[in-house]
Amino acid sequence: MATQAPRFWRSIPQRYNLSGTHCTSCNEYFFPPRNLCPNCRRGAHLEEYTFKGTGTIITYTTIYNATEDFERLTPYNLAIIQLDEGPKITGQIVSSSTGVKIGMRVRPVFRILGKEGDRGIIYYGTKFAPLLVSSCTEKKASV
């Protein structure tokens, strides 16, 4: 298989950080960053913005039959997550003992997304994990 490196290793910092844009004219946030605001178009004032990363699962599925690149992961959970600032993104939900649910709160985690065979290039990016509110507070209390 020919390497896809140029396509995915072109400088795409948003692969590794949830950084996008914020239009100060209409106050809408975008991920990935947009060069043109669909509301204000050329009247937009766009600034860079790094998302908090926390969000809510809007909908999800469990994939049993994937494309060749993802076959080794099946079954895996894929969801559309609405970030707290508003934009929605597609991402995998990693191990959740309680099961994935619509409305579940999640946080971003940095993970391997794909590999080009055993010796090929590894792709990294963002997946999401359940945000366990209770354990976070416990941790804070112990600190």
């Binding site: 795409i12 909908t59 469990t62 994939i63 993802f70 894929l78 559309i80 597609t90 990016g125």
Partner: protein
């Protein structure tokens, strides 16, 4: 703008056609349509062909020139254009042909669609189809087409109480219709239980909730309505041709249980035709997955938002019901050679309005609608036809 009519139609058998090539199929469908219209090659002003991905499926591009060549028209040097909008490529080719005739620039124009998908492995075909989604921000994270529609289904179930049994009814109905269609890929009745027992692809969608990988081609011949009556015994008028777009990625949509592109194309089409959705007698809608047909009948205004599942349960859309949908068997059971689908829909509606649909004929069908979607809803086309 001039009124446009269909004066000839042709369609190959859909299915796993290992014995024939893309070239064979497009020639077969084209010749059928030309013979049906009883026109000569010299009368053809232009060709449009919908094809999603011959580059990936058979490693052949430049499909415009290829189809003119295969159809024996190379020495006439007719302009031939390939158009692409993923699974809506066929509908888009029809619209380009309609615009060419309506504008007065061309008189006799052929709109065709073709896809040869079974020359590659299922994995390669699935990957080629995934190119209709957002490669960088959906597929890169592991999204597949069934997964995108599964996520729409999951939210529809949660919001409106739609059940998987109701979705399965779409597949049961379309398989039932396909049994009466000689060109359909599948001639087998299935039950809700069969759908539920088939392997899970992306929860809640099972294998039998998904349209298949298919080969096939279709073609229609268009002419100005003012001369169509002289050229054909039963011309079919195209009274509306509308197209709309939306974000490429599903996650960027306003609402994940509505295809806004369908809503906009549908509204524009009904306005052009000057009719209400309830005036439609028969429709072919884009059922790439069972949930997609439920969304389509809601988004086109045939039923209220959220009532699509219930309509399936009540048998509203089965042959003999108030609004028969996908009498061809739909994408689900007639097959889904992606570039050909939009033209096959027009072919089926033309047969229905001419009264030539055989066992699956809708009584006294006068108004028909075809709805073709690209990707997860980035493109939608709606055409309305009358006798």
């Amino acid at each position: 703008m001039r009124s446009v009519s269909i004066i000839g139609v042709g369609c190959t058998k859909f299915g796993e056609r290992w014995d024939v090539s893309l070239r064979d199929m497009i020639a077969e469908a084209g010749v059928m349509a030309i013979e049906d219209a009883e026109i000569a090659g010299e009368q053809i002003d232009a060709l449009y062909v919908g094809n999603m991905s011959a580059g990936r499926f058979i490693e052949q591009e430049h499909i415009g020139a290829l189809i003119a060549d295969c159809a024996g028209l190379s020495r006439l040097h007719i302009p031939s254009t390939r158009v692409e909008a993923a699974c809506a490529s066929g509908g888009l080719a029809l619209r380009q042909a309609v615009l060419a005739v309506a504008s007065g620039y061309s008189d006799i124009v052929i709109a065709a669609g073709v896809e040869k998908m079974t020359d590659v492995s299922t994995g390669t075909a699935a990957d080629a189809l995934a190119a209709a989604a957002d490669r960088e921000w959906e597929c890169f994270f592991g999204a597949t087409f069934p997964a995108l529609y599964a996520m729409m289904a999951k939210l529809h179930m949660r919001r409106y109480g739609t059940t998987h049994d109701q979705m399965a009814q779409v597949a049961v109905k379309n398989h039932h219709h396909a049994c009466m269609n000689p060109i359909a890929q599948y001639h087998m009745e299935i039950t809700v239980e069969d759908v539920n027992k088939s392997p899970m692809v992306a929860d809640p969608l099972h294998v039998l909730d998904c349209s298949p990988i298919s080969d096939g081609a279709a073609a229609v011949v268009l002419a100005p309505t003012e001369v169509a009556g002289r050229l054909s015994e039963c011309p079919i008028k195209i009274v509306a041709s509308a197209q709309a777009s939306d974000t490429l990625a599903l996650h960027d949509r306003r609402d994940l249980t509505t295809l806004d592109a369908t809503v906009h194309a549908g509204r524009a089409a009904f306005t052009q035709a000057g009719i209400e959705p309830r005036a439609v007698d028969v429709a072919e809608v884009h059922d790439c997955f069972t949930i997609a047909e439920i969304l389509a009948i809601e988004d086109l205004g045939f039923v209220e938002k959220g009532q699509g599942g219930k309509a399936m349960e009540e048998g509203l859309t089965v042959l003999g019901g108030r609004l028969p949908i996908n009498t061809s068997g739909g994408l689900k059971a007639c097959g889904h050679p992606v570039g050909a689908t939009g033209i096959k829909q027009a072919y089926e509606i033309a047969l229905q309005l001419r009264g030539e649909a055989g066992k699956r004929q809708v009584d006294e069908a006068e108004v028909g609608l075809a709805h073709n979607v690209g990707g997860s809803g980035g493109t939608a086309l709606v055409h309305i036809f009358t006798r």
